[in-house]
């Protein structure tokens, strides 16, 4: 199975581990990701907040490349990229808007854009739970996980098409297939503070703290995420969050691709686990222990 692939800027920097594990998991599943040639930044958080047309132009260029590559579906790991690309495609349905965006581009964008969806949905589209389970070499049995989607993945529902906007369950079904025990995590679509990490540090720490606090309370072994910014806020800023919440956290925050990779028996170094600020060693021991236990029986 082949998909066009839009990695997004963070994949090349802050979330290199997400990129690494995405590539590793997709390779293991036989999903070939073809990176769009000459892609550019989607505009990230600032662009669309300042000028929707400029933001759409940035995305339209990427979508145009994908259309010229004759891609049917473009996958992207990052919810923010996904949101921008999908919003742009949706807005471009309006001919007046499209005309204004075309003005900003060197050549008018393709009339029809390929569909853009998340890597998570792309995997789920090709493999059902049974097929995923068949790939599992190291079951996550006995591992308690909280799936945390962040605020962006499922919202707004009319653009994102990601199940119930308040209670998406796709990550749970993928990781359950890997053997993990998924807790009902009520804050799965709450905001981590997102890009306010710098201008509103306290608020971000509070938001992230709330998520970490509940996860700790629920006794999970790790929080699993699908967004580079969520991962950064929950992992990198965990101490700030702990301070603000007057608590102590030691909660590994892994990408779902990293968790799946572990279940597929991919070595941690090929999944970028060393980049985690909060170590996942205990989690790894637990997974290995479970394996050993399985072996004994």
């Amino acid at each position: 199975m082949k998909f066009a692939y839009y990695p997004g800027c963070s994949a090349k920097g802050s979330s290199a581990d997400y990129e690494k594990s995405t590539q590793a998991v997709c390779a293991a599943l036989g999903i070939h990701l073809e990176e769009l040639p000459g892609w550019n930044c989607c505009g990230s958080t600032p662009a669309h907040a300042v000028d929707t047309e400029l933001s759409a132009a940035l995305c339209a260029r990427n979508l145009d490349i994908a259309a010229r590559e004759q891609a049917e579906t473009v996958l992207t790991p990052c919810p923010s990229c996904l949101s921008n690309l999908r919003h742009a495609a949706k807005r471009m349905e309006n001919p007046q808007f499209r005309a204004r965006v075309d003005e900003l581009l060197d050549t008018p964008a393709a009339a029809h854009f390929p569909e853009v969806t998340s890597v998570m949905q792309g995997i789920a589209r090709v493999y059902d739970a049974n097929a995923i389970a068949a790939q599992v070499k190291k079951s996550l049995k006995g591992v308690r996980l909280a799936a945390y989607y962040g605020c962006l993945m499922s919202r707004p529902p009319e653009v994102m098409d990601f199940g119930d906007p308040e209670n998406p369950t796709l990550m749970e079904s993928l990781l359950s297939a890997c053997g993990a025990e998924m807790v009902d995590f009520p804050l799965k679509t709450a905001c981590c503070g997102a890009s306010f990490g710098i201008p509103e540090r306290v608020m971000t720490a509070r938001n992230s703290g709330r998520i970490l606090e509940l996860a700790t309370q629920l006794g999970v072994d790790a929080v699993v995420v699908a967004c580079p910014l969520c991962q950064m806020n929950l992992d990198l800023r965990q101490k700030q969050a702990a301070k603000e919440a007057d608590a102590f956290f030691r909660m590994p925050v892994l990408y779902f691709t990293q968790m799946m990779g572990l279940a597929f028996g991919i070595a941690p170094e090929h999944l970028g686990l060393e980049k985690l600020r909060v170590s996942a060693d205990e989690l790894l021991r637990k997974i290995d222990g479970a394996q050993a236990g399985e072996g004994d029986r």
Partner: protein, 653 residues
Amino acid sequence: MRIGVFICHCGSNIGGTVDCAKVAEIARGFPDVVYADDPMYTCAEPGQAAIEAAIHEHRLDGVVVASCTPRMHEPTFRRTVERAGLNRYMFEMANIREHVSWIGRDKEANTNKAAELVRLAVEKLRNNKPLAAKSFDVTKKVLVIGGGVAGIQAALDCADGGVPVILVEREATIGGKMAKLDKTFPTVDCSACILGPKMVDVAQHPNITLYAYSEVEDISGYVGNFTVKIRKRATYVDWSKCTGCGACTEKCPSKKTPDAFNEFTGPTTAITIAFPQAIPKKAVINAAHCRQFVKGKCGVCAKICPTGAISYDMQDEIVTEEVGSIVAATGYDLMDWTVYEEYGGGRYPDVITSLQYERIMSASGPTGGHIVRPSDGREPQKVVFIQCVGSRDRSVGRPYCSGFCCMYTAKQAVLTKDHIPNSQSYVFYMDIRAPGKMYDEFTRRAVEEYGTEYIRGRVSSIYPDGNGQYVVMGVDTLLGEPVEIRADLVVLAVGIEASKGSPQLAEKLRISYDHYGFFMESHVKLKPVETNTAGVFLAGVCQGAKDIPASVAQGSAAAAKVLALFARDKLESDPQIAQVDIRRCVNCGKCIRCCPFGAIKEVEIRGEGKAQVIETVCQGCGLCTATCPQGAIQLSHATDNQILAEVNALCQC
């Protein structure tokens, strides 16, 4: 013919954008028009008098009034021409207000259009024939559908007026939603104590026949003569023998049966009497949970019953009743609030509906009136009430206000404090809607005397904090700040919708209903009890959200309508019905096949089969006329020739 035309100015309503004098002048040139005038207010007394005078003076045998919609004043003017000695069907209206002056800005175009509509009316009138109404007998008996407080009131008032009443209730007991309430606002008196006596009156009234645990299966007929089929669902208990002693419910081993009366806040037994004051106080077996039915063996209740009332092989029974009028009082249900995933979508045990909270507070409820949390039986200290869950929320397709939630939320906050003095209640609200007698004062009391904290804003999410409490995250829009409350119990004021099955019942009654299943009244302001189907009246929340006093008032209003209808021994049939030209009829049966009312039958006339219209059954839709290729069946007052006259007036190349 000698036709008179009256072009109404309706003050400036029509006169403002239509040159009425010119329309009258044009009308004078129409065939058969011998008189035309443009009065200021035609419907006013002088206007009507002028019509009568003109009929006499100019020997008119037909009148056209161009004014507002015929849906408003056609009956008025028909009476006017009748007073002057004309047949009431020798009258036509042109709607030059709603369809002309109010929607068009161009005076020239409006004037021309008005003149054309007058022309249509004149051409129609030239093909009109005097029609005479026939009278028919009325069955002076009323069917009340729904035994909530509105239906109870309607039934009692009709029965007191001497009219036999058939009261059909879907549940095993009457009382409806009010019977489930603990106390009522704004007096905080006991709901069961004020409703109970009325329920007993229903049971004891000689004029009332109660069919509980029954549903309306089919309705046919017309005002004065409806035939109703009622399905008496099998209760598996012979109610003629059951004394309501309750011995069976004590001994029933299926103790985990879901309890619908208690809104599923606690279990009950498979054989059950809904609550102590139930009317009728008879036991019913829930076959889906009864061991005898599920496993094929048990029979405990049959053994224990002192009167031998248990009958496991009972079947549904259909009874037929003839009535002259119907009152629909089918009430409401709560909308499915589990669409609110942000409130847990029904996954959190201590996030409950207001109606569940009523049952928890009620002395006859599952906890005996002790307020405790469903999850662990602990007494809650902090209770959060969230209003407008499924009301005024377009995102879940519920744009309307459910009306009474503001008041009962205040009441529940007050009662919470009464039950648990050291508790603290919070109410998230959008607006406080308290426009009733002593209502606003009551909500003030909840705030000022009971210390309820009202927070203006919506709740964005509720989640369990893992320590047994729930984090309620909302916003205070007055302070412009996010609010976070750790609550022990969250009560949702869930919005209402028409009760389940309302659209289906509306179709049986042939009345209209809106997108949410509420029944449509005949006129929003002036006919709030009537429907567009003669003889069918509405009471209570089935027509739209309203509280108990309003429901009771509407119940009485519906009863007044029924009694007024039955004050006459005979009703007049509408002569606007289909008629068969037997020379043209070839008895092909196409009209019989598609008549929605079964109003056409085959008869033998001089050895030949012919179609015949049953005059009292025909409703005048004209489907048969459009179906008959022979043109043999014509709807009086909307014949082919009358409509063709209008088409020809407009379309003559």
